[in-house]
């Protein structure tokens, strides 16, 4: 009897631990599941380019040049402020489609995001 109680207690403890672990695991997945991607701006080039991501992805652009750049979509759906060195801009792409963008200060710099 004593052994049974002990076993039951152990089992309950195990269940609680598993539940906590489960909750913790679920929480962790929730963060990692929110897809993110990086685009670096270096030597007047956006890379990677083109970039293909699933819908819902948040893309972060980081300017690594000594010269300011910006990120402006051609259809005007997004536009960053000017990014000085090491400054970033993020935008979340919720709808599938092809988004072309450029630096309106240096318009030779162009990029494309394909959202699936």
């Amino acid at each position: 009897m004593k052994r049974t109680v002990s076993t039951l207690g152990f089992a309950m403890l195990a269940i609680v631990i598993l539940m906590m672990a489960g909750r913790s695991r679920t929480y962790g997945v929730a963060v990692e599941d929110k897809p993110t991607a990086q685009v670096k701006i270096d030597n007047f080039v956006f890379s990677p380019n083109p970039l293909t991501v699933p819908a819902g992805t948040t893309i972060r652009w980081t300017n690594q040049d000594d010269i300011p750049h910006n990120v402006v979509s051609e259809d005007k759906s997004f536009k960053s402020k000017v990014l000085d060195t090491d400054e970033t801009f993020t935008y979340t792409f919720t709808k599938p489609g092809t988004y072309t963008y450029f630096c309106s200060i240096h318009p030779k710099m162009t990029g494309k995001v394909v959202v699936q």
Partner: protein
């Protein structure tokens, strides 16, 4: 790198065997700006760094003025952590000229990030220049974030559109153009139809013997389109100037001196007062170039340019200071 024929910079008008490569070898950093003299409709330009070696007679013309460019106030990266100091040095050079210039042309990128304090800093320093009149055109760094609203309020009160205008000085007609607005993805500098129409009307009434000086930030000729160093609709603007015997185009943007002659037109780009940029195609990008201090002087020089009307001849004499 293989280049398309359309990118060639200098035609061999003078049969002197100077091709594009040879021309590029002749280029030298001017350092701080350019001093221009109109003599009988012929423009001569000198690097500000070498002017102390010239006599007053050599640089006295019908009209004297100075071009400075790309002061990038606010820039603080390793290529130059004291752009205020180098602009001040450029102004000291202007003030040391044997003949005080009539005025200053600033061909844009006054500021680095269009911040009010950056414009204020340049304005304050230029108050110390011997020439009190300063004529500006905007660079792409001067119209960031507000489509040039602040630039227009500060410098373009009497200008048309996004800041273009013209004026006359001692028989010379000056046209200031804006080619940094409404830039299209994948494109170069742009003047736009409204400005082109204005320009056509502006120069139409002038006699063909009037010397014309056109100034704008981005080069009005194809210096290096791969780096955006050109203006998409510049050919249209230049077509309005065909009747004139003497046309001089002054630009900035590329932070180095370059010249080209094409028919009746001489093109000049000025050095920056802030930092040099690489020669076309000789670096991964046109970003700021850090030059060792001891190397800089050997790259500074005097550039004496003489364009002879009618001969399509460009005489270039470069000599370094050391």
């Amino acid at each position: 790198m293989a280049r398309k024929p359309k990118d060639e910079i200098l035609h061999d008008h003078n049969h002197d065997g100077i091709d594009r490569r040879g021309f590029l070898k002749c280029m030298a950093w001017a350092g701080t700006g350019a001093f221009c003299v109109m003599q009988g409709g012929v423009l001569k330009s000198y690097s500000l760094s070498g002017l102390s070696g010239l006599s007053g007679k050599q640089i006295k013309g019908d009209l004297c003025f100075v071009q400075i460019s790309d002061s990038h106030m606010g820039f603080n990266k390793p290529a130059n952590t004291d752009v205020a100091g180098t602009l001040k040095a450029a102004i000291d050079k202007i003030n040391a000229l044997p003949t005080a210039p009539g005025f200053i042309l600033h061909t844009g990128d006054i500021s680095h990030l269009s911040k009010p304090e950056e414009f204020d800093g340049v304005d304050q320093l230029l108050k110390g220049a011997s020439a009190k009149d300063v004529f500006y055109v905007p660079g792409e760094h001067d119209v960031i974030g507000d489509d040039g609203k602040q630039y227009l309020e500060r410098y373009g009160k009497n200008a048309k559109g996004s800041g273009w205008y013209s004026f006359d000085q001692k028989g010379v007609h000056f046209v200031g153009l804006v080619n940094v607005m409404n830039l299209k993805a994948g494109g170069l500098g742009s003047l736009g139809n409204e400005q082109l129409e204005w320009m056509e009307g502006d120069v139409k009434h002038l006699s063909k013997s009037t010397p014309v000086v056109v100034f704008a930030h981005i080069p009005l000729w194809s210096v290096y389109p791969e780096w955006g160093w050109g203006t998409d609709d510049s050919a249209q603007a230049l077509s309005y100037l065909k009747k004139f015997g003497s046309v001089t185009v002054l630009n900035g943007h590329i932070h180095q001196t370059m010249q080209k002659v094409e028919g009746n037109v001489t093109f000049h780009t000025a050095a920056s007062t802030a930092f040099p940029q690489p020669k076309p195609g000789e670096a991964p990008s046109p970003g700021p170039m850090k030059v060792p201090a001891e190397q800089l002087k050997s790259l500074l020089g005097i550039r004496d340019v003489n364009y002879v009307q009618g001969k399509h001849s460009l005489g270039v004499t470069d000599s370094t200071l050391e």
